[in-house]
Structure formats: structure tokens, C-alpha cells
Assembly symmetry: C2
Homo-oligomer: 241 residues x 2
């Protein structure tokens, strides 16, 4: 149970809490070790059935390890699923996030993407770590169900998907096209949403085939996770949810 940076380098992540741990195991992810307290074992005897190494920990250790105020005393070290961007299917539907920093926003977007039947998420390194504790928690385990790709060249990836026939849309406050007027091409889709304060970079906007805006009034903008989710609902979930 090492520091996040070490975990990343080793392609491991830590899931905390009984629901996330059971979800991770249920999703077929390779789980290496599950750690639980005596209390947790009594409360959730199904932990004993997890097909991996099991280690009992004391309450003080659980408190030390936990990122929660009231820890459940259950942790699992899992191997990260490995996706390469070469695997992203140009006929699929993707949500791309550029430097979305708030873990609650990244988690909520991944949760919506899985719920609205998207094929995956593409994140830049400036986004909150999708396997960090806060994102895992906010995503309610969506990362166990949704492929998450990381790329330092989001503009290049969008151009590649576009060249292979995907419709690539950049979300911007002053986008040329009203969301309600977007006609889906019938092929793949990549929707790009930018940083909370600054939106998408000019480079990513230029890499997309169209720039879309959600029609709003009174406010300057929506919360980033809300904006991404309304776009995904309108262009995905709404049509075939």
C-alpha cells in the first residue's frame, strides 16, 4: 500500500471501501491483495471469498491508510487496466477531458459516461488522476467498467479519430453550433470538454470538426461535469439510453 506516485509507476491502484473493492473484483480486474480489519471481516464476510491474497490489518493501520473520515477498514491493491490509445475505436463514443482538475468533476464525468453508454474516456495528464482515491470514489467505480485512456497529445488523438470517420466536437461557451442543432453523423463520436476555468485550448478546438455550445442564460457557464454530462446525454444517452 504505497504512495500514489509509486502505485502509478507500478501500475497498481488502491480501492478503498467495501463497495469499490467488491465492484473492482466483480469487474474482473486483477486484484492482488485485500486488506481488512476484524470488524470489516465480521460485517462483510464476502470479503473472505475474494480470490486474492488477504491480510488482516488493525484499526489504527486502517485509520492511517484511509482517506475517509469514517473508514470502513477495507482496502484492495489492484492492477490498473491497461489501455493504449491505439485501441480507441473510431466507431465508438468517447468523452475527452483536457485538464479537468477537480477529482469530483472527473469522477462524475466517468460515472455519466458509463451510464450513458459511452465507449471510453480520454484524459490528458493535467486531469485529476482517474485512479486516485477521490476520483475512484466520485466515479462510483465507473473506471472498472469504462476504458480510460491517457494522452499528452489530445489534439492529435482527436485528429486521428476524425480522420477515421468519428464526429469530433469541442465544447465552448461561444461555440458556433447550438447543441440542439447537432446532427449525429451516425459514426463514432468524440466530445471534448476543457478545464474548469479556461475551457479547451485553442489547439484542441482547432483539431475538432465543430464547436458546440449548450444554450444557457444568466450564468457564464455550467459546472464542467454538468456540461460534459448534458452533452453526453443529448448526443448519446438520450438517443439510445
Amino acid at each position: 500500500m504505497q504512495k500514489p506516485a509509486f502505485c502509478r509507476a507500478e501500475n497498481r491502484f488502491v480501492a478503498e471501501g467495501v463497495k469499490l473493492c467488491l465492484d473492482a473484483a466483480g469487474s474482473g480486474l486483477a486484484m492482488e491483495t485485500v486488506y481488512y480489519t476484524y470488524k470489516a471481516e465480521k460485517r462483510w464476510p464476502q470479503l473472505l471469498e475474494l480470490p486474492c491474497e488477504q491480510l488482516r490489518i488493525s484499526e489504527p493501520v486502517a485509520e492511517k491508510l484511509s482517506g475517509q473520515k469514517t473508514p470502513q477498514g477495507v482496502f484492495a491493491v489492484c492492477r490498473m487496466p491497461e489501455f493504449g490509445l491505439a485501441e480507441a475505436d473510431p466507431a465508438g463514443r468517447y468523452i475527452a477531458l483536457e485538464d479537468v482538475q477537480d477529482p469530483a468533476n472527473v469522477g462524475a464525468v466517468l460515472r455519466s459516461a458509463a451510464a450513458f453508454g459511452f465507449s471510453g474516456a480520454i484524459l490528458t495528464p493535467g486531469c485529476a488522476d482517474p485512479f486516485g482515491q477521490k476520483v475512484l470514489r466520485a466515479s462510483m467505480g465507473a473506471v472498472f467498467k469504462l476504458p480510460v485512456f491517457e494522452t499528452a497529445d489530445l489534439a492529435g488523438e482527436l485528429r486521428r479519430l476524425g480522420a477515421q470517420g468519428a464526429q469530433t466536437l469541442a465544447a465552448a461557451l461561444r461555440g458556433a453550433q447550438d447543441l440542439r442543432e447537432i446532427r449525429r453523423s451516425g459514426g463514432g463520436l468524440a466530445l471534448a470538454v476543457g478545464n474548469e476555468g479556461n475551457g479547451l485550448s485553442a489547439e484542441v478546438i482547432a483539431a475538432c470538426s465543430a464547436v458546440v455550445r449548450i444554450p444557457i442564460r444568466a450564468m457564464e457557464s455550467l459546472n464542467a461535469a454538468v456540461a460534459a454530462s448534458v452533452l453526453m446525454w443529448e448526443l448519446g444517452g438520450r438517443r439510445d439510453g
Copy 2:
């Protein structure tokens, strides 16, 4: 600049940061005192023009007062807008939140409600304080533009609005009606969304004329702010945004 509970009792709240303070002043809210540091005054000379008492504070005081990691050194004490639920217009569109506890969720919902042209928000006392620092920040000042009503009897309010002709919809994971099948009655609308973990109470669900679900797959639920925003988009913003 007192503790939140004192502020509430006195019908005052504190806005922090230059954008929120200027938004509050611009919205016509009664501002009593603005506090700023020497640095803030040099950086934002428009603070000097605010029509209220002005007080210079030192950097250490600003740091002590601030809820932020990097305070801007600008604070304003404002009078809370006073709304009574008797004023809620049965021909208007309302989002009702029952015990939504996360301030980021409450803030994002208020922001979406203002952006999608809703008439107001109805909150139970179990919701995060709409005039607390975290909600103010997450709402991007939406509370200055959107009437926020509080009621301990949400079911009663929904029944009252329904009796006066409003369409009252409860959001639930296993709602009988798919969101896409909802026909608007043409009159007022009240949409109720519940607590992050438990959803709406049976009492509030029973007070509504229909129970609606957002069609999703793979996940058990959406983030509460996302769910409320998708509902508001579909039944409000999308139709006349």
C-alpha cells in the same frame, strides 16, 4: 464577519473573492461592508466604487478569514435575499432538493437552474447551506440570480404547487416514466431530486404527480447534480434555452 450560524440568524452572509463580491453588488443585493487588503485594492480598484462601508484589512486577517488556499483578500457582508415560499409561482419552474448534502452538488444545481432558466430552487434544511462559502463558490454566484426557498415541509409544498396546476415530478432510480416520455403540461413545473445516497423520501415521492427516471446502464445512478441538471436541461433548457 461572524460565524456562519450567527450570520444565518442575522440574515447576513459573507461572499469571498472579487468575482462573487462584484456579482453580489451587481445583482442589487444589499451589501453592508466590503473588506479588502491593500494588494486587493491595487489590483481591483473597482472595489472602491462599491456603494457600501469599506474597510481595509491586513494580509494576516485576510488569511484568517479565508476559506481558500490562496485568498484574494476580498470579502463582503451582504444581506440575504428574503424569499417566502408563499411567493413561489405555481406557473414557474422549480428544482427541489431534499437533503442534498454535498455543497459542490448544491452549488452546481443552483448554477444549472439559473442557466436553464428555472424560476427558483426549493431546499430542505438538510441540504448544504446555499449561502455557505462552498455552495456560493460552486454556484458561481447563482444564488444572486435565482430565488432560493427553504422549507421543512417539501412534500406539503409540492402538494400545494401541484394543486395549483404545476406538474410535480419526483426523480427516482426506478421511476415509472422514462424522462424522454415526459410530456410537459404547459403549466408550472417542480422537479424533486433527493439525497446522494438515499434518494427522495417516500413522502416526497408520494406528493408528486409522477415519478421519472433517467435511462442509464452499467451504473446504479448518476451524480446528484448531474441527474438534476440533465432533468432540468431536458424539461427546461432544451425546450427554450
